[in-house]
Amino acid sequence: MPLHTDRGFEEQLGQLRTAVLEMGGLVEEQVGQAVRALIQRDEPLARATIERDHTVNRFDVEIDDLSLKLLALRQPAARDLRLITTALKITTDLERIGDMATHIAERAVELVREIPIKPYIDIPRMADLSRDMLRRSLDAFVREDTELALGVCISDDSIDQLHEQLFRELLSYMVENPATVSRAMRLLFVSKYLERVGDHATNIAEMVIFMVKGRSIRHLDKVPREL
């Protein structure tokens, strides 16, 4: 792909890509940190994670501003237009992932004060999976790799299954011993938040496919096997 004749435009598009990536890296780290705080029962780390959400929100506003400026001043077309609209939408998903991390950290703060009902096995797995999906969707964004993006969409099923499994397990705890309800509910929320992170990563991957191919695969009953 040749560069824009207008260097300033090229540079601004580069800035936009970089900002999306930085924001993505930040929220991925935030999710990791939140889950670590939960598992290691580290309240200061949980509180630090909650604090970081401001930085994520600043990125959200900054990327919106830059995108709006590019749309108004450059009247982009074709792949440039798709890049900018994709950046705008990805940012919303990343901002929500940041919110999810904050919520996990909040639950971690609450759970630190109570005796754990069980060792955490599925939650770290879900966290790894969701972070991996997020990382891959952002890689797909920079590399414009639709195969990689499609892989992310397909991964979403495994995280949904883990959530379902954890739900049944926690339900059995609650039925057996109502004293566990408040802790089990909090863990269930965490599981749900991680499952949502997977959904947002899937949204990002779908947008990447749109950005590269100009074709939407969103809201289909099944993820297509190939493009």
Partner: protein, 269 residues
């Protein structure tokens, strides 16, 4: 089944499918002396649609436009081969009268070129050439076409004033009225708004939207946003060849060819 409310979000009926073909071009080649200006271009232009021709200077878009009413006949050394038909009638036949053809296929140029006559006489010029002498009939034509060209309200009080007293944007609309006065079927526009300010440009573009109900419009423009705004179909020319032709909306969001993509996104190599 889609929610009927959603249909409002659908693009306006795009072009190609439902509109009958007005102009058919096959293997059109144009030489100016030894230089090949247009290289085997084939495309179908639908009736009652706006078709925009875009591309960098020297890409052949104006040459192509001028082939549609045989304006190239006047250029010394120009040689045209291939076939152009309008409603199935070949326009390059030996028996075709170019003057009669240009009555069917009118043209508006980049620089407005009113005659140094009154507003009325400018618009009445074509019908008079074609034999209309009746003052009342001419008056009707002048009013109808000035209304169509969205100029009537601004000039109805001063039809006898010189056309040269009008502003640039008004002069251009006058030229459009003059082109419409002979009741053409096709209107060719070569950069019709490039010398106009944004307000006059917006009026011309609005006018183009109105006119496509009655005419088939082919427009050459350097302004890609203008092509995006006014046209149903866009053809991208480069170095005398037709690179891509399709619904404007698709061409500007997801072009099929890398050359088109580079051009409309401003990567000029």
């Amino acid at each position: 089944m889609l929610d009927p409310g959603l249909s409002r979000l659908r693009p306006t009926p795009s072009a190609t499918s439902e509109a009958p073909t007005k102009i058919t071009v096959r293997d059109l080649v144009v030489h100016y002396g030894g230089a090949r200006a247009l290289d085997s271009v084939s495309l179908d232009i639908p009736a009652h649609r706006v078709t925009a021709l875009i591309g960098p200077s020297g890409c052949g878009k104006s040459t192509f436009l001028r082939c549609l009413n045989r304006m190239n006949d006047h250029i010394p050394g120009a040689r045209v081969t291939g076939q152009v038909t309008i409603d199935g009638d070949p326009i390059y036949g030996a028996d075709v009268d170019p003057v009669a053809l240009r009555r069917r296929v009118g043209m508006v140029f980049q620089k407005s070129n009113p005659f140094p006559k009154s507003i009325f006489d400018n618009v009445a010029f074509g019908p008079r050439v074609h034999g209309e002498r009746d003052r009342a009939r001419l008056g009707e034509i002048v009013e109808r076409t000035l209304r169509q060209a969205a100029l009537w309200d601004e000039v109805q009080e001063r039809l006898d004033a010189s056309a040269l007293e009008l502003s640039g944007g008004q002069q251009q609309r006058l030229c459009i009225a003059r082109a419409l006065a002979v009741e053409p079927e096709v209107v060719l526009m070569d950069e019709p708004a490039s010398a106009l300010d944004p307000i006059a440009t917006a009026k011309i573009e609005e006018l183009i939207h109105e006119l496509k109900n009655a005419y088939t419009i082919v427009i050459v423009t350097h302004n890609m946003q203008q092509a995006a705004r006014v046209s149903d179909l866009t053809a991208y020319f480069y170095l005398g060849r037709l690179i891509e032709y399709g619904p404007t909306e698709r061409l500007f969001t997801n072009p099929g060819r890398p050359e088109t993509e580079d051009y409309i996104t401003g990567r000029f190599g």
